[in-house]
C-alpha cells in the first residue's frame, strides 16, 4: 500500500508541474488556436531566471525566504516579458496568415530561444539551489511524500484556485473567455483583443515560470534543454484534457502524471512515454475532444 501511495504522490507532483505548463498551452490555444511550441522554452527561461537571481541573492547573503520570493517574482516577471515579446514579434504579425505559419514561427522561436540561452549561459547542467526547505513535520513521512512534493502540490493548487478566480470573476478573465469564444463579437463589445491576447501570454508565461522554479528546486538542476521535453508532455496533457479548457488542462496533466508514475512503478519505465502517448491515443479515439473538451458546437 505504501508503494501505491508513493507512486500516487509522485504522479501527482509530476502532474502538477505539467499542469502549470499545460495551462499556458491551453490558454493560448483557446484564444488564438495556436500550438505555442515556444512555451516550453518560456518555462526553461523562467527556471534559468530564478536560478540566476537565486544564486546571486544567496551569494549576497539574503535569507532563504527572501530568495524564494524574489526569485519567484523575477522568474514570473521575466517569463511574462518573454511571452509578451514573443507574441508581439513572432505571432501577432501572423494573426491573419494561413493556419500553419504561426506554428512554424513557434518552432523557430523554440529553437532560437534554446540556443540563445545555450550561448548566453552555458550548455552544462547547473545546480539549482535548494529553495524548498526540509520541513521537520514532514520527516516521519518523508520517504513517501517529501517537503518539495508538498510545496509543489500546495502551490499548484493555490495557483489553480487563483487562476480559476481570475478567469471566472475578473474583468480581464471574462474578456479572455469572451475573446476565446467569439473574437469578432469581443471586438464589437469594445474588448481590445490584442491586449487580451497579450494578457493571456503574460499570465500563461508567468505560470510556466512558477512551474520552472518549482521543478528546478525539486530536481536540483537545470540546463537549456529542459523546456523541450516538459513542453511536449504538457502539450500532450493539455490535449488529453481537451485543449482550450482550463480545468481540462489540470485534469489531463494529473492523469498523465499518474499514468506515467504507475506505468513506471508497475510495468517498466522503458515504455513510460509509450504508455503516456498510447493513453492519449486511446482517450482521443473514444472521446475525440479530450476529457473535458467540449464537442464541437459549430464549424470553425
Amino acid at each position: 500500500m505504501d508503494y501505491f501511495i508513493e507512486l500516487f504522490f509522485g504522479g501527482l507532483t509530476r502532474g502538477s508541474i505539467y499542469a502549470l505548463i499545460a495551462l499556458g498551452y491551453t490558454m493560448v490555444y483557446g484564444i488564438i488556436g495556436l500550438i505555442n511550441f515556444a512555451h516550453g522554452e518560456i518555462y526553461m527561461i523562467g527556471a534559468f531566471t530564478s536560478f540566476i537571481v537565486a544564486t546571486v541573492l544567496s551569494i549576497y547573503g539574503f535569507p532563504v525566504l527572501a530568495i524564494v520570493v524574489i526569485a519567484g517574482l523575477a522568474a514570473a516577471v521575466w517569463s511574462a516579458s518573454y511571452g509578451f515579446t514573443i507574441e508581439k514579434l513572432a505571432y501577432r504579425p501572423l494573426r491573419k496568415a494561413p493556419r500553419l505559419a504561426p506554428l512554424i514561427s513557434a518552432i523557430g522561436m523554440s529553437i532560437f530561444l534554446q540556443n540563445y540561452v545555450l550561448l548566453a549561459q552555458t550548455s552544462d547542467f547547473l545546480p539549482f539551489p535548494a529553495l524548498i526547505p526540509e520541513f521537520a513535520f514532514m520527516e516521519p513521512v518523508a520517504h513517501i511524500v517529501g517537503s518539495s512534493d508538498l510545496v509543489i502540490l500546495v502551490t499548484t493548487a493555490l495557483v489553480m484556485i487563483g487562476l480559476t478566480f481570475l478567469i471566472k470573476f475578473t474583468k480581464i478573465g471574462k474578456a479572455m473567455r469572451a475573446t476565446a469564444q467569439d473574437k469578432t463579437m469581443a471586438v464589437l463589445v469594445g474588448i481590445n483583443v490584442d491586449r487580451v491576447i497579450s494578457a493571456t501570454f503574460i499570465i500563461g508565461s508567468a505560470l510556466a515560470a512558477i512551474g520552472g522554479l518549482l521543478i528546478a528546486s525539486h530536481i536540483g538542476q537545470i540546463n537549456f534543454y529542459i523546456g523541450f521535453i516538459a513542453g511536449i508532455k504538457a502539450f500532450t496533457a493539455a490535449v488529453l484534457g481537451g485543449i482550450g479548457s482550463i480545468p481540462g488542462a489540470v485534469l489531463g496533466s494529473l492523469v498523465l502524471g499518474l499514468t506515467e508514475s504507475f506505468a513506471t512503478g508497475y510495468v517498466s519505465s522503458d515504455y513510460e512515454d509509450v504508455f503516456a502517448f498510447s493513453l492519449l491515443v486511446l482517450i482521443l479515439i473514444f472521446k475525440p475532444s479530450g476529457l473535458l473538451g467540449k464537442a464541437e458546437t459549430k464549424k470553425v
Binding site: 508513493e6 547542467f125 518523508a142 520517504h143 517529501g146 530536481i219 536540483g220 534543454y225 512503478g265
Partner: protein
C-alpha cells in the same frame, strides 16, 4: 516588363552560383589540418564543446612553439549534433577540406556513421568519448583510436567492484536509454549474471530529461536492491541520487565515466557524497593533467567540462604521432600511435592494434567531502 524579369533571373542566378561556390573555396596553404567533430549544438552540446576547447588549447600551444616540423596547425571545427546523418556530412566536409587527422566524434552512433568516410579517405580519427566496444573490437575501422576505455571494460570494473568490494547481493541496473548508458548497463547485467554471486533485481531505462524520477526510485526501493549500477551521464545520475536521498534511501550507487565528472558533484551537491564511479586512473597528480586544467581555467575562466582530459590527451597523441611520423600519411600515423608513447593527462599512453589506448585502465572512485577519491 520583360527586361525586369530578365534582370531578376540574372540576379537570382548570380546569387545562387555565389551561394554554391563560396563554401567550396578552402584556404590553401601549407598547414596541418586538424579536424574537430562532435556535438556543438543541440541537447548533447555539453559533451562536445569541451573537446573543441581542448583542441583549441593544445593546438594553440603547439603553434606557439612554431607548429610541427615548421608547419602551423589549422583547426577545422565541425558540428555533427551527435546525429549520424549529420556526421556523414560533417565527415565529408572535413575530408573535402583536406583534413589530416580528426579529433572526434563525440557520440558512438555518429562516429560509426562517419568512420567509413574517413577510412576511405585515409584519415586517422581519435575519439575522446565514443566507448562502444564494436568501434575497436570489430576490426572494421583500422583508422579509429580512442583515449577512453570501451564500455565492456568499464562495466567489468564496476561489477567486480560491486560484488567483490562492496559485497552487493541485489543489484538494480538502471540506464538512460542512450547509446552509451544502455550499452554499459547491458554489459553490467551480463557480468553480474555470469558472476553468480549477485542477482539483477531490476533492469530499466529512464527517460533523459524527464520531469522527475520519483517513480523509478520508488521501484528500486520496492525491489529491495542494495546497490544501483547506473549507466549514463551525470544529469540523470544526479537526479536519481538526489531523489534517493529525498526518499531516505541509503543504497550504494555505482556509475560510470559519464558521472565521474566534477559537474556531477557540483550539481548533486551533498547528495553526491558516497557515490562510486569508475573512471580513468587517477590523474590528479599527473602534471600534464594539472597543466591542462589550469590552461582551461586561464583561457575560459571556468572548469573544463566532460571528456576534456580525454580530448586533450587525444589531441596531444594525434599531434605527437604526426610529429614522430614526420608525415600525415595514415599508415605512418597509425604506426606512430601504436609505437610512440606520449605523456597526456590520462597517462603515458600508446595504442594497441585495435585502437584502444594502452594504459588507460579504470579505477573506482568515491565522492568524499566533495571530491572524487580513488578507492583502493
Amino acid at each position: 516588363m520583360k527586361s525586369a524579369l530578365k534582370k531578376k533571373l540574372f540576379v537570382t542566378a548570380v546569387a545562387l552560383s555565389f551561394a554554391l561556390t563560396v563554401p567550396v573555396a578552402t584556404i590553401a596553404g601549407d598547414t596541418i589540418k586538424f579536424g574537430v567533430a562532435g556535438a556543438q549544438s543541440g541537447d548533447l552540446a555539453s559533451y562536445g564543446i569541451p573537446t573543441v576547447k581542448a583542441a583549441e588549447l593544445v593546438v594553440a600551444a603547439y603553434n606557439a612553439k612554431g607548429g610541427i616540423n615548421g608547419k602551423k596547425i589549422e583547426l577545422l571545427i565541425e558540428d555533427d549534433v551527435c546525429k549520424p546523418e549529420v556526421a556523414t556530412n560533417t565527415a565529408t566536409k572535413l575530408v573535402t577540406d583536406g583534413v589530416d587527422v580528426v579529433l572526434g566524434h563525440i557520440c558512438s552512433g555518429a562516429t560509426k556513421a562517419a568512420l567509413p568516410i574517413y577510412k576511405e579517405a585515409g584519415v586517422v580519427v581519435m575519439s575522446p568519448s565514443a566507448t562502444n566496444p564494436g568501434l575497436t573490437q570489430s576490426g572494421d575501422y583500422p583508422n579509429f583510436f580512442r583515449t577512453i576505455a570501451s564500455d565492456d571494460a568499464q562495466a567489468k570494473t564496476e561489477v567486480d567492484f560491486a560484488i567483490n568490494v562492496i559485497g552487493a547481493k541485489k543489484i538494480a541496473v538502471i540506464h538512460d536509454k542512450g547509446d552509451y548508458g544502455k550499452g554499459l548497463a547491458e554489459f553490467a547485467k551480463t557480468f553480474v549474471e555470469q558472476s553468480g554471486k549477485a542477482e539483477v533485481v531490476l533492469f530499466e531505462g529512464v527517460t533523459p530529461g524527464a520531469v522527475d524520477y520519483t517513480a523509478i526510485v520508488q521501484k528500486i526501493k520496492r525491489k529491495g536492491a542494495d546497490t544501483v549500477i547506473f549507466g549514463g551521464y551525470h544529469p540523470e545520475a544526479s537526479k536519481i541520487v538526489s531523489m534517493m536521498k529525498k526518499k531516505r534511501m541509503n543504497l550504494n550507487f555505482i556509475s560510470d565515466d559519464g558521472v565521474k565528472d566534477d559537474t556531477f558533484i557540483k550539481v548533486a551537491g551533498k547528495n553526491a557524497e558516497g557515490v562510486y564511479a569508475s573512471g580513468p586512473q587517477d590523474n590528479s597528480t599527473n602534471p600534464v593533467s594539472i597543466a591542462a586544467i589550469a590552461a582551461h581555467k586561464e583561457a575560459y575562466n571556468e572548469d573544463p567540462g566532460a571528456f576534456y582530459e580525454n580530448a586533450y590527451s587525444a589531441a596531444l597523441a594525434l599531434l605527437n604521432a604526426i610529429e614522430k611520423a614526420g608525415s600525415t600519411d595514415m599508415a605512418a600515423i597509425v604506426k606512430a600511435l601504436q609505437n610512440e608513447k606520449v605523456e597526456t593527462p590520462v597517462g603515458n599512453i600508446n595504442f594497441d592494434a585495435k585502437g584502444d589506448a594502452v594504459g588507460v585502465g579504470f579505477a573506482m572512485y568515491q565522492v568524499r567531502d566533495g571530491k572524487y577519491v580513488e578507492v583502493k
